[in-house]
Amino acid sequence: MQSSRMESVTGEFPVHLEGLGKEYGHFTALKSLDLTVPSGTSLGFLGPNGAGKSTTIKIMTNLIRPSRGRATLFGIDVRQEPTRALARIGAVIETPEFYGYLSPLETLAYVGRLRGMSSSELERRSEAVLKEVKLTDWADHRIQEFSKGMKQRLAIAQALLHEPELLILDEPTSGLDPRGMAEVRDVIKSLKDQGRTIFMSSHLLGEVQEVCDDVALLNHGELLIHGSVRDLSRGADTSTFQTTFLSSPTPQDLEALATVPGIVEIKDGGDSTIDLRISGGEEAQARVLEAMVSRGLKVTTYRPLGSSLEQLYLDRIQESDRL
């Protein structure tokens, strides 16, 4: 609480994006993004491929210049003072490549020395981060022998090396197998528990829900939603329920169902299954089930497809695509 008040006074939020825009020729990758991430927050930066997530992250890490607006990290403008702005962050951008002739230990020593870490500190931290990403057994092997997943884990290790206050992660589980994905999520969750600020882009909603407190949804370079995962899940009152019957409902049954308050859309999935889009939260869902049973339909399963947040995500993306 005190930290938030301090931030509002000094304007030193870990991430503050102000009217950020980027054009590649005639293509607008980012329109005018305003976004602030307070200290200790883990923000999931969601959006489909090409939404502008990587563009934003590249501007934040000084890999590209914004066409307009500005990005500040801890109150320091990334364009004006890149070395100061980047000193307090750790970043994983896409799946980076490393120098194949170096080992993970040497790679960590390289970035550690650029950051001014002492030899003893480097030794201690290298051991810790390689253990954290389960690369200890490969510490002295040349990276040219590594798989994509191992390189991704090394990327996370180098981002954690100097114990940064802010972690910027661009699709950190990309290229990993399911086990690797779970391990990386566990690492991120433990960092979140330590109070680090996390800015993580992803196109996987489940991943963001599992790891992040807040979510920002981007599409076509525009911010569509920004809020806490909990509030948005509560606020999203439309869900899709997959319903299976003992025998297929007749067209008359479906017509009658369409009149039940709360049903927004009915999709016939075949094989005695229909998808019902229901608006109005849990009460409406119960009412619909009741209506089907009272009409004599023998319901064998009635289960939500995905979460309400997922529905909200899909709805807003579709809405923004239509515009």
Partner: protein, 264 residues
Amino acid sequence: MTASPVAQVVTVASYEIRKYIRGRRLLGILILVGLIVGLFLGLPPALGIAYASTPNAFVSTFATFASLLVILGGVLFAADALVSEHEKRTGYFLFPNPVRREVLVLGKIAASLIVCAAVLTLYYGAAAIAALAITHSLTWDIGLSYLYALAYMTAVVGIAYLISSLLKSTVAATVLTFFLFTLIFSIVGGILPLAKIAPWFIPTSASGIIADALGGPAVGPGPGGGPGASFIPDPATSVIVFLAYAVAGAVLAILLFRRRELSS
């Protein structure tokens, strides 16, 4: 917490040198140096030809090929240094660190110069030892030729870095650097005198002083050329030309590398 820019330049240079050593490029050029020295020392007795009797004449045979060695050094140790960070995507790991792009370029240039200078020193060292063993004497001219070769090396490295900051492919940067110095500059330097323009500003023409310091090239300039076709500026002009190319190349490389965006 960030290291000072000087410490960062030293760190970048040391890791770049490690790259050249482990990437076997250094081994490759050392084998080439061994081959050239071996041929110069082994072929004359094998063919029944006497060695040159003066140290200058003896070392001028080596000096004639020093320019080619310098160009190969620039191609192997400089031409892909910047472009590879973009093409091979290593920039995604390196650039988000608190290190300025100019520091990266300066560190890389330092590494290229150190490695190229080491190769050249070994080459001239071998030539000087052989000259001492065979002619029993050495001259200051040999040292002067070595210094001119080092000055030429700075020009080649500077231009190689400029090309590396401009192009998008490591292969294109490497090929263009090689052909610029072995073909394009030589053609321009050969044709300009026909139009009554002295090619003093062409680095390959200025590189003639490397052998000229020892009394002139021991090997002719090649098909179509001849003693009358080659123009060599005076030593001071040549050194100024080398340094101008080195500084202009490095400065432009830094500016271009700073402006270049890393986007796939």
